[in-house]
Symmetry: D2
Subunit: 274 residues, 4 copies
C-alpha cells in the first residue's frame, strides 16, 4: 500500500506525558495585544467589555475541561488549574495545551461581537500558552498570589498613568516620567489628590482580576443566580450538570475577590485537595 | 513588594528548546470535526468552501511565520514545515506550537463567514496541534508523502461511500459493508460502473489536498496571479514582500499537485535545503 | 581559530533541569547481575558479602551527595532520595544521574576485594540508573513501601526456592513448579514444615533490605557507634562532619528496619520535610 | 497483595525515547580529574598510561554496544557515536546513557592496575555523561572536529606550560602569565627556541587524541594486527566477531590520526552513513 512505506514517520511523534498527580497549570497570554487594543480602540486603563469577553472564553474552556477547578484572568492573560489527579487526554502535554489554547482563542473570536458589538474585529487575534507543573498546593497557591499581586501592581500603575494622560493632559512620555520610581503609596496619593480618585473604590474586577470556580447550587436557586449582576454568566453556556435527586447542579461562578488570603481557599477546599 | 515573595514560582517554567537545525513540523487537526461538519451541514464527501477556509487559515499562518516553507492540507488537518535553521521564538516548543495553533484557529473562525456565508457558525471550532521533528529531508519528504497518500486513500473511500449513499440509496451501514475489504481498483470500478464517475477526473483539490509554497513573482505579473482560478488567494491577505529593485515579490501559491514524486521538489529546491 | 567554527555544535546540548521542589529519586539497578552472581559464585538465596558491598557503595554516594536524605537497597538495586529543595548541579538531570551512577559503580569495583576477598572480579560489573520525580511525600513514601514490599516478596520466594534446591534436592525447574501459584502463607509453611526454617527469624537484612539515613551523634558516643554490629560502616569512609562546638557529627547509619509503617518516618521527620 | 497498592508509583517513570534516526552522541567526562591526577601523580603534560587506560575502557564500551561506530578520546573525556538507526534499548535516553557511563567507569577501575601497576588507586574515580543528538552527518563531523581541535589547543598549551615549569624553572603562576595572550605560533616558538622541542614531532596520541573504529580484517592477518605497536588492543578483550565463511572478523582499531580533514571519513564511509 502506498501509505505503508511512509508511515514509519509516525515514529518520530514522541510521547509527552506530564508528571502524574501534579497540578497542571496552563497560562494563556494575548499575543501582541497592545496592537490589538489600539486597533480596536479599547478603553484605557481597562475595557470592561474586553475583560468580560476574556471571562466568557475562560468559561467555555472550563465547560469543556471538567477537571479545571480554578481559573484566574487579568488583562490579556488567563490561568487554568487542573486538579492534580486529572487524566484528561492521558495528561499528554501538547494535546492538553493546544486544545485549550485553541478553544480559548476560538471562543474569543466567536463571541467578540456579543461583547464589543460596535467595533468589528479587524484581524484574527491570537494567544500563546504554556504548561507549568506545581508539585504541591503551596506552590500552586503562590502562583495565583503572584498573578493577583501582578494584577494589582499593573492596574495601579495603569490607572494613575491614564489619569495623568486623559485628565492631567500629560503626554504618555511625561506620564511615564512622572511615575518613574514612585512607590505604591505615592501613586495612591497622586490619584486622590490630583484626580479625586480613591483607588480602593474602583471596581474589584480591575483591582483583583477574575476568579472562576465551580460551585454547586440548589436547583431552585437558579433564578437567583441569573440576576444581572454580571458575576455569573452561566446562562450563556451549557454548564448545567444535573445532579440526580439531590437537585444540585454545578455552575461556574465568576468572582473578583482576593485569592491571596486564606478566606477564598477555605471556602473552596476542593481546589487545594486537587 | 507583594509580588516578590511569590515570584519564585516562575522557576517552575522549564526551558523547552527544540533540537537545532532539524525540520520542525507542526500538524494541526480539527477537534471533533465530524460533529462540526454535521452541525453545519458540510457537503459530502468534500465541502469545497470548508477546504478553502482551511487554506485561508493556513495562508494566514504562513504570512505570520516567515520561516514556514511548505504547508499541506487535507480534510480538517494542516501540516506546516519550518526551515531547518529557523530561530523563530528561539525554537521554544510551546511558544511556536501554541501561537501557530491559536492563529490557525482564530483565522478559521474570523473568516468563516467569508467562505460559508449562508451557515452561521454555531459554536467555537477547535484544533489541536503537535510538533514533530525530522532530522533530514528524507524523513521530511516521506512525511508529506504519507499525508498525501492518506489524502488519496481517504478521499477514494469517501467518494465511493457517499456515492453509494447519496446516489445508490444505501444506508451508511450498508455502504460501509459494501466497501469492507475492497481494494483500490475495486473502488474505482464501483465508481465508474455504477455511478459513471471517473475518479481521476475529480477535482485535484480533493484527490491531492492543498500544497502551499512561497514563490517569487515579477511585480508586473501580479494581475496574472489573481485570475479567478481559485488557486491563488494572496489577494486577501498581506503577503506582499517587496524585493527592492528586482521588482520581485514573494507570494504564497496554493497548488493541488503531487508531492510524492520528485517533480515538485525539483521545482522548489529551497524546501529540501531547509 | 580552528575550534571556533565548529563550536556551534555545543548548541545541540539542550538544558534538562528537573522540576524544582520535587523529590528526586534515583534508582540504580545491576545490569545482568544474574550472570555476575553466577560467574562469581554468590551464595544463594542471599550473599551477605555482596549486599554489604552494595551498602558500602551506597554510603560512598551519600558521602558525596550531601542532599541525599535516604537510601534503600535490596538485591542488586539501590534507591536514593534527594531532599525536595536540593540545588545539586542546578538539578540538571543527566549530570546528577550519571555522576551518581558512575560513583556507585566505581565504588562497587573499588571495594570488591574488601568484601569478597577470595573471588577475583572477572570483568567490569555495570549498573543502569533512572530518575523518577515524586511531587509529594505521600508518593515518595509509597515508593519506598513498594520497594520494601518487593524485597519481602522476592526474598520469601528465593528463600523457599533455594531451600527446595539446596536441601530438598529439587532441580531448579522442579522448585519453580513447586512454588507456582503458591500464596505467601503456603511458602511459610513449606519453609517451616520441610526445612525447619522460621522465615521471620531470618536476618532482617534479607527480609527488609538496607535503609541508610543520616543521623547526628554526640562526638563522645563515637566508639559506641563502631561496635562490630555491622550496622554502621562509617569507619571506612569519610563521613565525619564535625559540628563546631556542639560536639555533634553527622554519620550515615545502616538499618534493616521496616519503612512501610509510620515509626521510621516519625523518628526521621526531616526526610518527609524534604 | 502488599506490593499492589504501592505499585502505582511506577507510573511516575516517564518514557524518554530519543528522536529516531538521529546520531546519538554520548560524551563521558572525568569528574574532578585534576584532583585524581594529582593524587596519583600522573605525568605532565600527558600520562600515556592513563590515556591507554581510557582507550581500554572505551574499547570495552564499544565491545558491549555494537552500534557504536566511532569513539574519540582525549585527556579525561571520551565521545561515542551510535549509528543513526540504532535501536539499542529502544533508544531510551537514561538507559543508554547510564549503562554506557557505568561500563566506562567500571572498566576504568577494573583495569587501572593493568596500566598503572605501581600506583594503587586511592579512591573511586567517577565520570559524568551526557547525550547529544545530531540530525545530520555534517553536525556530527563538526562535533568530532570540535573535539580534536580542542585536543590540539589544550595539548599545545599544556606542553609549553609544563616545559616552562619542569625545564624552565618557572612557577605555575609564572608559566600561566608567560602564556597569557600568546598565539599558537608563539607557543611553537617558545617550545622550539627555549626547549628544543618540535611540537609536530611529539607523539600523535597527544596531539590528535585517540580514534576508535571497527574494521574488518581477514582472519589470517590476525597476527599482523597484534604487533606491539600499541595501536591495537583487541587482544585484551572479546571483540572477535567471526563472519561466517568469508573468514573476516571485526576488530576495534585505535588510531591517533586526523579526523578533521576528509581522508579519515572517506576511508570509513560507513560512519557517515550512520
Amino acid at each position: 500500500m502506498a501509505g505503508t512505506k511512509f508511515s514509519y514517520v509516525k515514529k518520530f511523534e514522541l510521547p509527552d506525558p506530564l508528571l502524574p498527580n501534579t497540578f497542571i497549570l496552563v497560562r494563556i497570554d494575548g499575543h501582541a495585544f497592545h496592537r490589538l487594543s489600539e486597533a480596536h480602540e479599547f478603553m484605557k486603563p481597562n475595557d470592561e467589555r474586553a475583560l468580560q469577553l476574556m471571562d466568557h472564553a475562560a468559561q467555555d474552556v472550563m465547560n469543556e475541561f471538567k477537571d479545571i477547578v480554578l481559573a484566574f484572568g487579568e488583562s490579556d492573560e488567563y490561568s487554568f488549574l487542573f486538579k492534580k489527579a486529572t487524566a484528561v487526554y492521558n495528561r499528554r502535554h501538547a494535546k492538553i495545551l493546544t486544545t485549550l489554547t485553541s478553544l480559548f482563542t476560538s471562543s474569543y473570536v466567536f463571541n467578540w461581537q456579543k461583547y464589543i458589538p460596535d467595533v468589528a474585529l479587524k484581524y484574527p487575534p491570537t494567544f500563546d500558552g504554556r504548561v507549568v507543573l506545581y508539585p504541591t498546593s503551596k506552590e500552586m497557591r503562590d502562583y495565583f498570589s503572584w498573578r493577583q499581586a501582578d494584577t494589582h501592581i499593573n492596574n495601579l500603575y495603569n490607572t494613575v498613568f491614564w489619569a495623568l494622560v486623559q485628565q492631567g493632559g500629560q503626554s504618555t512620555t511625561q506620564a511615564h516620567a512622572t511615575l518613574r520610581g514612585t512607590q505604591s503609596k505615592h501613586k495612591h496619593d497622586i490619584l486622590f489628590s490630583h484626580f479625586g480618585i480613591n483607588y480602593n473604590s474602583l471596581p474589584e474586577r480591575y483591582r483583583k482580576g477574575s476568579v472562576l470556580v465551580r460551585e454547586e447550587v440548589v436547583e431552585d436557586a437558579r433564578h437567583t443566580d441569573t440576576t444581572p449582576t454580571g458575576n455569573d454568566i452561566q446562562q450563556s453556556t451549557e454548564n448545567l450538570e444535573a445532579k440526580s435527586e439531590k437537585k444540585l447542579r454545578t455552575t461556574i461562578k465568576v468572582y473578583h475577590c482576593d485569592i491571596i488570603q486564606n478566606n477564598f481557599w477555605e471556602e473552596h477546599p476542593n481546589i487545594l485537595q486537587g
